[in-house]
């Protein structure tokens, strides 16, 4: 080791000592290592007050350190919702992008295991019945039970609902309570007023806990409506936890499948079809189903012979 190297080490050690001295409290009598800067407790002075990292501004930020072409990278990023341009720490993701991913997964879990709020149901006078599913775990394991009402549910529906209306609306929690909590207050009045304006009769709406779409078959064994509509929470995607779908069918009953239903999906204010607009589409689709007395594949066949009648909801 030559003299220069020794000198460098000594300087480094002295600098380190000086730093330590500066951060030492003046009184060594203090029992706990409470550091103060000009009389203020340092921990008290610590403030972490973050902006929301889930906003587009933060999502669109580039995490690559020293990209070869920053403008080009931003352009690439703008072409896809995929999480590109995130950068890396060695081979692993950077801290912010990993935490954002966890946040986006977190809201999906809260949505699936969350509950539909009673006041949202009360707002529209919805009473509640349950399928044959007992709890959320069984709901996930046994889709078949989520399509069947309990005898008590059928009895209650029989007591409370008018029979053979043109349209029966039901609401189901499905895989996202957030979808109902966030979208029902906007979509429901639009559908209700739209049907009234079109002179279409609507039965007494109700809420079905632990529902799958196919439960509309069982509902209609009691109601006998021409059209049954279910507004239901969809499986949450990362970062979009409150997407709702509206499924409907012409005279549903045992044995009817998805092929005989129509759907308007991805109803959400978070990057989907907004619930007000969706409500208008639902009304339009109901009118069409009533007119052609068919839904699903059969409706497609009938309307393709009658092209000029296609409302805008056909794109869905």
């Amino acid at each position: 080791m030559d003299q220069n190297q020794i000198e460098a080490i000594v300087q480094a050690v002295l600098a380190e000592l000086k730093k330590k001295e500066a951060s030492q409290p003046t009184s060594t009598a203090s029992p706990a290592p409470v550091s103060t800067v000009s009389g203020v407790n340092k921990t008290d002075a610590l403030i972490i007050d973050l902006p929301d990292p889930t906003t587009p501004e933060f999502r669109n930020a580039v995490g690559v350190e020293n990209p070869m072409n920053l403008e080009g990278l931003l352009n690439l990023k703008s072409t896809t919702p995929a999480r590109i341009g995130a950068g890396r720490a060695g081979p692993r993701p950077r801290t912010k992008s990993w935490l954002l991913f966890q946040a986006d997964h977190g809201v999906t879990q809260d949505a699936i295991y969350g509950k539909v709020r009673q006041e949202v149901l009360d707002q529209f006078g919805l009473f509640t019945v349950q399928t044959q599913v007992k709890d959320k775990a069984e709901y996930l394991l046994r889709p078949d039970l989520g399509r069947l009402l309990t005898p008590e549910a059928k009895m209650l529906i029989g007591q409370k609902c008018v029979k053979k209306p043109q349209v029966q609306m039901v609401v189901g929690d499905g895989l996202s309570a957030a979808a109902i909590n966030n979208n029902l207050p906007q979509i429901f009045p639009v559908i209700k007023q739209g049907l009234e304006a079109a002179n279409i009769s609507m039965g007494a709406p109700f809420f079905i806990k632990f529902a799958r779409v196919g439960v509309i078959n069982d509902v209609n064994t009691v109601i006998g409506a021409d059209v049954v509509v279910i507004l239901i929470g969809e499986r949450p995607g990362l970062g979009v936890a409150d997407a709702m779908s509206a499924y409907m069918g012409w005279r549903p009953g045992p044995g009817r499948t998805d092929a005989q239903r129509d759907v308007i999906c991805m109803i959400t204010n978070n990057g989907g079809l907004n619930p007000l607009e969706a409500g208008a589409f639902v009304v339009e689709l109901i009118r069409k189903i009533l007119k052609y007395q068919a839904s699903g594949v059969e409706l497609k066949l009938k309307t393709s012979e009658d092209a000029p009648e296609r409302p805008p909801s056909d794109v869905l």
Binding site: N69, L70, T80, A82, P236, L238
Partner: protein, 455 residues
């Protein structure tokens, strides 16, 4: 036939080989949904005891679906090498397990015995394995294949660049391809799941991926995971197809639900040999996954592990370049949580290898399964130790088109650096040449999609 044992003084009897196999299966929500799972943990172990004494000929003679009724069974039985089968037919399932584990049993010996096995034997031995058995057993078997490059060599780990986009945007997909390439993902395939299965859309994406491969002289293959008939039509019209894809099920009825048959797959295979732009001789890419038969009511009362093994028997007919189970995609009614997904991933990988197909795994989960990204990372490490050929590569594990989560571009690089593995040799040389990788590690330039804006 009598299939019976006592356990702790209690007698357990099984009515058929199919019932025995189902009850010996590790806990799966799909088997429970089908009403065929063991009713208690001890009954499951009793079934395993009886199964361990079952001779292999009994499985050969009792396929899950009868030979006369099902073309998948016919494929499986007809491709058995009878000389090898006759050597092993009197082994019990328990003996087969120990033979695979023995140090004296070489990889070459296992590859040879593969040709004497049926799907039911492969599934049966898997049911007697612990998770580490599955990892160790699979690690003894290397299955290599060649299309435009070479997959499955010891010391390598490949990554499918899966650049899906919710509206099939050509620019958006290309951007993600660049991102993946910059991390070393894309050596297994640049493979897109299109939203729009129409011919025009598929041909457009085939052209774009082929252009990227040509422009950057990438030693890899492209593939559009549309229905096989769409790909066949694209080939007829001169589209640059590197590999032909199809999802498979383990029964004729299950394949009918996918809109395919053995005859159609035979035709697709012949067309790939005739029209694919790649060197071959392995041109096919298949995906499978436990539970797809039950979801189509095409399981014939058999458990989902047996039906899955039958997929690999069918895949083997076409000498594929790559096969992967999409293990957690189907949802919690088939694989409930991370324990079941992990088990199924290890099982499927082992079964494919034992059967002699070049296996990768889409280690994944949906948001309604009881699993997180941590669980998938764990599974990827276990499978890499087991010698898995490839994983999926998706930006930060979030597939914005299929709405599920799987392994990321970062994970491919991490698993390689963690366990001392390299990309496929041709691809590694290409990366080194571009300066994106050196001595098996990403360089400073790597991880930056804008690198590919130079040309």
């Amino acid at each position: 036939m009598l299939l019976r044992t006592k356990l702790f003084g209690k007698t357990y009897e099984f009515g058929s080989i199919k019932e025995l196999l189902a009850k010996a299966n590790e806990e799966k929500s799909g088997d429970r949904q089908a009403g065929i799972a063991a009713e208690s943990v001890t009954e499951r172990v009793a079934a395993k005891f009886v199964l361990s004494e079952l001779p292999l000929w009994a499985l050969y003679e009792n396929p899950a679906v009868p030979y006369e009724d099902d073309e998948v069974t016919r494929v499986i039985i007809d491709q058995v090498n009878l000389t090898i089968y006759n050597e092993i037919k009197n082994w019990t399932v328990g003996e087969l397990r120990e033979w695979i584990m023995k140090d004296a049993t070489t990889p070459q010996m296992i590859r040879r015995v593969s040709n004497g096995l049926t799907a039911e034997m492969v599934a049966a031995v898997t049911k007697l394995m612990s998770n580490m058995d599955l990892i160790y057993g699979a690690s003894k078997v290397r299955v290599t294949a060649h299309c435009a490059n070479t997959i499955g060599l010891p010391g390598t780990l490949a990554s499918r660049n899966q650049p899906n986009h919710p509206t099939d945007s050509v620019e958006g997909i290309r951007a993600t391809i660049y991102e993946g390439l910059s991390y070393g993902s894309g050596d297994s395939v640049i493979g897109i799941n299109p939203v729009d299965d129409s011919l025009g859309s598929v041909m457009r994406l085939l052209d774009m991926t082929y252009d990227v491969i040509q422009k950057w002289e990438i030693p890899t293959q492209n593939c559009l995971l549309a229905h096989v008939t769409t790909q066949m039509e694209a080939m007829k019209r001169g589209s640059p197809v590197g590999m032909v894809f199809q999802s498979l099920a383990g029964s004729q009825k299950g394949n009918e639900a996918f809109g395919v048959s053995v005859g159609m797959l035979d035709e697709a295979y012949e067309m790939a040999r005739k029209y694919a732009w790649t060197a071959g001789p392995n041109y096919m890419y298949f995906e499978t996954g436990q539970g797809s038969e039950l979801s189509a009511d095409a399981h014939h009362g058999a458990d989902q592990l047996v039906m899955e093994a039958r997929c690999y028997g069918l895949a083997k007919r076409y000498h594929p370049f790559q096969v992967n189970t999409v293990v957690g995609f189907i949802g919690p009614e088939y694989l409930y949580d991370s324990v079941q997904i992990t088990r199924a991933g290890l099982e499927d990988h082992f079964m494919g290898k034992l059967y002699g197909v070049p296996m990768g795994v889409d280690a994944c989960y949906t948001n309604h399964a009881k699993a997180t990204q941590n669980d998938i990372e764990n599974l990827a490490v276990l499978l890499t130790a087991a010698g898995c050929n490839y994983f999926m590569g998706v930006p930060l594990g979030d597939d914005v088109m299929l709405s599920y989560q799987c392994t990321s571009f970062h994970d491919a690089a991490s698993l390689r650096q963690l366990l001392g593995l390299r990309p496929l040799p041709e691809f590694e040389a290409w990366m080194e040449n571009l300066g994106l990788m050196k001595d098996g590690k990403l360089t400073e330039k790597a991880g930056d999609a804008s690198f590919f804006l130079q040309k």
